[in-house]
């Protein structure tokens, strides 16, 4: 059986919360039952059937055809299965998800994969600010899982991240890996100003030197670090492009942020 397919008829009238549409929640439901699911949309909730044409299929392989930057909370809290959006999405895609695989063929908005705990998020386009970060008021951002962005990412990638891996094949915005608690952030393109601002532990791996590096990072020299082979082996199935940057294998190590304990590191090819 092919996947359960929801086809967007037209752009939503306002920002729609798609968090009720998860593979595990749609399992076993008929198209009519799915159509009746209420989706918060401002002060005028919509039924899923008002937005989507629903073609019966395996809910474990959920496909949303047609995207919109008004589709928020796509895959929020997802625990398993596979979800694909054949288009762009709005804010909070993959928010706090704990398992499964979410693929977004277009771009994603603010705080994608924020506070994620497990699973895989692949964004084929660009990602907005606070990718894998913490929502306002939260002490921790992403806590596990793997995020791959084929395009560019906005500012504060991995803000307050605790564990997991974020790989951005394009450019990083300002303050990447800021306030990082642990985990790994990788940027294969350029990066904005002051990466690693306030990072306590964790690793920021950059293929290109950042626009500006904080003076609170100490140069430890260029080294072949054994763990990078394990990291690259883990990421090889997800990012063939990573193998095209061989200079990452012997990066220059900057320890910091010395203003915040200094147990983190920025590795620059």
């Amino acid at each position: 059986m092919s996947g359960l397919r929801l086809t967007l008829r037209q752009p939503p009238p306002g920002r729609v919360d798609l968090s009720p549409l998860l593979p595990e929640r749609l399992a076993g439901l008929s198209p009519a039952a799915i159509a009746a699911i209420v989706l918060p949309c401002g002060n005028r909730p919509l039924a899923a059937g008002d937005l989507f044409d629903i073609a019966e299929g395996d809910a474990g392989d959920l496909v949303i055809t047609g995207g919109s930057d008004r589709l928020d909370h796509v895959g929020k809290g997802m625990t398993g299965g596979r979800m694909t959006v054949e288009g762009e999405v709005g804010a909070y895609a993959g928010l706090a998800m704990t398992g499964g695989a979410l693929r977004i063929a277009g771009k994603a908005g603010f705080a994608a994969a924020a506070m994620m705990r497990g699973g895989l998020v692949v964004i084929e386009g660009d990602a907005g600010d606070f990718l894998g970060g913490a929502l306002p008021g939260e002490m921790r951002g992403m806590r596990g899982g793997l995020v791959i962005v084929r395009g560019n990412a906005g500012a504060r990638v991995g803000d307050r991240m605790r564990r997991g891996i974020i790989l951005v094949e394009g450019d990083l915005g300002d303050h990447a890996a800021g306030r990082l608690l642990a985990g790994t952030v990788i940027g294969l393109g350029s990066s904005g100003a002051d990466p690693g601002l306030g990072m306590k532990r964790g690793t920021l791996l950059l293929a290109k030197a950042p626009e500006r590096l904080l003076p609170s990072f100490a140069d430890c020299g260029r080294h072949e670090l054994g763990f990078l082979a394990l990291l690259f082996a883990h990421l090889r199935p997800h990012s063939p492009r990573l193998a095209l940057v061989p200079q990452l294998r012997a990066p220059r190590r900057w320890a910091g942020d010395l203003a915040a304990g200094g147990k983190g590191e920025i590795l620059i090819a």
Binding site: G144, G226, A229
Partner: protein
């Protein structure tokens, strides 16, 4: 029963349940991986005197190791989980962590775990860094030639130790040649090690001694030069005996290794100077496993 004229005695080898683990040691070159592995598995012939039994299972090409470097798979056996944990940390800490360019990984998955980096990390004195990729947690411990990378924990399994057989030959060269053939055959097999020097024991032991402080002493029944003064188990023409001791991850692994080793030892028949194959046991009272030679070779 005989193989090419070599008598296969109607007896059995008695083996014991042990705790076991497999490590994968990698380095910049196959030579340095082998140096680390040889150091780590040194003085590990018998649990009685060494605390554990360990040996090199096989050499690994770069494509089969976690970090893509040449490596060596090592098996470690001990009587209890506690003993195995202590030996693991002592040996990796003193022999692998110290070896140039080395890294050390778990080579066995399973629900039961032993700590590796979880204890070694303290050597990093606060500069150690944990990394978790997929479900595996690694430790990066800064050392003077770079960083030592190892798994947080390694899998433990319940293995079998003490599978054995004895080669009775008409001369020392014949006994050694047959034992070497058996070692070569067994070393091709997975999941087993031969913990003694070169894979061979020339000083097989019996339990107890006339001296109270000794728990084991020479196996006089199989010493050719005592044939006239002890209750010998040797035929009159026997002039030399070698024993092979085999530890494996399962009883099937040990049985397969014994079968291959005995077949290789008997390959030249009696013209090779081998007279008989027998095995060591304690009457079946001590060990959980029995490997009957004639059943194995049937």
């Amino acid at each position: 029963m005989n193989l090419g004229g070599v008598l296969i005695e109607d007896t059995f080898a008695e083996a014991f349940g042990m705790r076991a683990t497999r490590l994968i040691i990698t380095a910049d070159s196959a030579e340095w991986a082998a140096i680390a592995a040889a150091s780590m598995t040194g003085f590990a012939t018998s649990v009685i005197g060494c605390g554990c039994e360990a040996g090199i299972e096989r050499h690994l090409p770069p494509g089969e190791t976690p970090d893509g470097r040449p490596g060596v798979a090592v098996l470690l056996f001990a009587i209890s989980r506690k003993d195995l944990q202590k030996q693991l940390i002592d040996r990796v800490g003193q022999c692998v962590l110290t070896a140039a360019g080395s890294a050390c990984f778990s080579g066995h998955d399973g629900p039961e775990k032993l700590k590796l980096g979880g204890l070694l990390r303290y050597f990093g004195d606060g500069f150690q860094i944990a990394k978790k990729f997929a479900d595996r947690r690694y430790w990066r411990i800064p050392v003077m030639d770079g960083e030592f990378v190892c798994d947080h924990e390694v899998g433990m399994t319940r293995g079998v130790g003490g599978g054995n057989f004895l080669i009775l030959a008409a001369s020392r060269p014949a006994a050694l040649a047959a034992a070497e053939r058996a070692v070569a055959a067994i070393r091709k097999l997975p999941n087993v090690i031969l913990p003694f020097p070169g894979g061979i024991v020339r000083s097989g032991s019996k339990i107890g001694s006339k001296y109270k402080r000794l728990v084991a002493s020479t196996n006089d029944a199989y010493c050719p030069n005592l044939k006239g003064e002890t209750a010998t188990r040797l035929p009159p023409e026997a002039a030399s005996v070698h024993e092979l001791v085999i530890d494996g991850l399962t009883a099937d692994d040990v049985g397969a290794a014994m079968r291959a080793g005995i077949a290789a030892a008997c390959a030249a028949g009696t013209t090779g100077g081998v007279l008989a194959i027998t095995a060591g046991n304690y009457g079946g009272k001590l060990g959980q496993y029995r490997f009957h030679l004639r059943e194995l070779m049937a």
